[in-house]
Symmetry: C2
Subunit: 317 residues, 2 copies
């Protein structure tokens, strides 16, 4: 798992994915805020994947993967492991496309996320808290049921599906200079790189300092493991996979690191200026853009940011 | 102040307001949620005035009022008293239309709301916590500066402006059976009644049990004062005015009362299902719609809800 796989994905694959999943996903709105423009010093456009079905962009990749299963595979079903948005997305995509889905969930996952997976009609299977536990149980489920494993990010069908967010973005806001995304497993970043190839729009990544495996992997040109990341941005605690590392390494993706304090400050600004609910992971690119030490190069004036998900429990009172 | 004023507002006034303010406000998006539809048992459409400029529908009425000032009045300016969204809206409307604005703010108003009023360029004037304090200081400011008083709701220009939200709503979702709004001072409810006159769309109101002055006023057909309301829905702590009472009384607006627990439960559902930030006041109509004891009459299948504002401070961690 430490070497890059060379992906042959092309923009045409993302365009096909876009047509394939169109009836199953929302074309999400784009929001702007004059106050955020003033704070960052560029014109910002936020693509709101928190409004996507299942509450996250993960719906795109999960749907694109399930719709490419064979007739036989559609009957036996699909399995994944996830403590978060990919599990819910695969559950909903399965329910909408009539494919049975099993989601292996660590016992310590929030009950809020577990309930969503069950509400979307998947079979929830408990496992221990480690990645090894998850993988073992997912393999067992696959062996027992015949279900195909669908990785949260290390799968070309998933990568192509996530790239449709970038495709829609430039269709709606045609003169973007850059599109910023948070980097966890690298599925969204890779999909954007593929989708925007030849478009002149640059993809930029941001990652928490406390989960900097992609930054280290790209700096060393060798896939590095995640070292028990503790960042508040729980969606970004995963490491790159061989496929996503291969794509991002070939692209020489530039990644900016941000502190935990900067992530919460950016999440607060999204809440107060855009009036929307986003997960801490979604706020990571804005945190990087707000950092005055990393001011933009001249010529960058219109910047897109993908807000990746909004599955949060109401804080209550 | 206990008798109704007969308003001569017509749907054409709302249409004119809509054209007048078009360049100054956002046409706000409408969101839906299949989960909320399932919970309520009708097709719900949410008009998101939390995304309106200044973060609330109040921008509509404030703009419509300022744009009708005389040349002379535009130079001397406008004054209001507000601890909340009307003050911020009048401040921003003044800044956009080049009218000086003074906002009288009680000393105990949240610093978050004070900062917004100042950021939009109005002059903030402090006063004591009571309604009497506010009115006295606003009169003083008016006497000293010549500024015209713009009421948050008891002003036909403001009522006509708020009604533009309903006009946009039925233009976008043409087959609505009902439009639900929270009732505070009654400006939005009155504007909707005027805007939807003759359209076949019914206006329905909802109010907190702990701020039930409009309910009592309409039941007794006499304008009742607000009795130191303590509801969490701080935007609804005001009483109806003579103009809004006159309109709502003539319409025989039906108002449903909801508990504090129901308001918070509805706010939580908006947060978790729609992924947006709304003030407790905005959740009051959904709280009424979720109440199983008040199930809908047959024939009601498509219901609009105006989410009135989203000016909340990030709860932090």
């Amino acid at each position: 798992m430490t070497s890059a796989v060379v992906s042959k994905l092309l923009p045409a694959d993302v365009q096909q994915a876009s047509q394939r999943i169109a009836g199953y996903i929302h074309r999400t709105p784009i929001l702007t805020s004059s106050r955020l423009n003033d704070l960052v010093g560029v014109e910002l456009h936020f693509k709101c994947e928190n409004f996507q079905r299942s509450g996250a962009f993960k719906m795109r990749g999960a749907t694109n993967a399930l719709l490419q299963l064979s007739e036989e595979q559609r009957k036996t079903g699909a399995v994944t492991h996830s403590s978060g948005n990919h599990g819910a997305a695969l559950a909903l995509a399965g329910s909408l496309s009539d494919v049975p889905v099993w989601v292996v969930v660590p016992e310590n996952a929030p009950s809020f996320k577990r309930r969503a997976i069950e509400r979307y009609g998947a079979t929830l299977v408990n496992c221990g808290p480690t990645l090894e536990d998850r993988e073992t149980v997912a393999q067992q489920v696959g062996a027992e049921t015949g279900a195909v494993f669908v990785s949260p990010y290390n799968d070309e069908r998933v990568v192509a599906g996530q790239g449709t967010a970038a495709l829609e973005f430039i269709e709606t806001v045609p003169d973007l200079d850059e599109v910023w995304v948070p980097v966890g497993g690298g599925g969204l970043a890779s999909g954007c790189v593929v989708a925007l190839q030849g478009s002149g729009v640059r993809v930029c990544g941001a990652e928490p300092e406390l989960a900097d495996d992609a930054y280290r992997s790209l700096a060393s040109k060798t896939l590095q493991p995640a070292l028990e990341p503790t960042t508040i941005a729980d969606g970004l605690r995963t490491a790159l996979g061989t496929i996503t590392f291969g794509i991002l390494n070939a692209y020489r993706l530039e990644i900016r690191l941000v502190s935990e304090v900067a992530i919460v400050a950016a999440q607060k600004l999204v809440y107060e200026c855009l009036k929307i609910v986003v997960e801490p992971s979604s706020a990571v690119p804005l945190a990087a853009l707000l950092d005055r030490e990393h001011r933009h190069a001249d010529g960058v004036s219109r910047v897109g940011v993908i807000l990746t998900g909004g599955n949060l429990e109401f804080p209550g009172r």
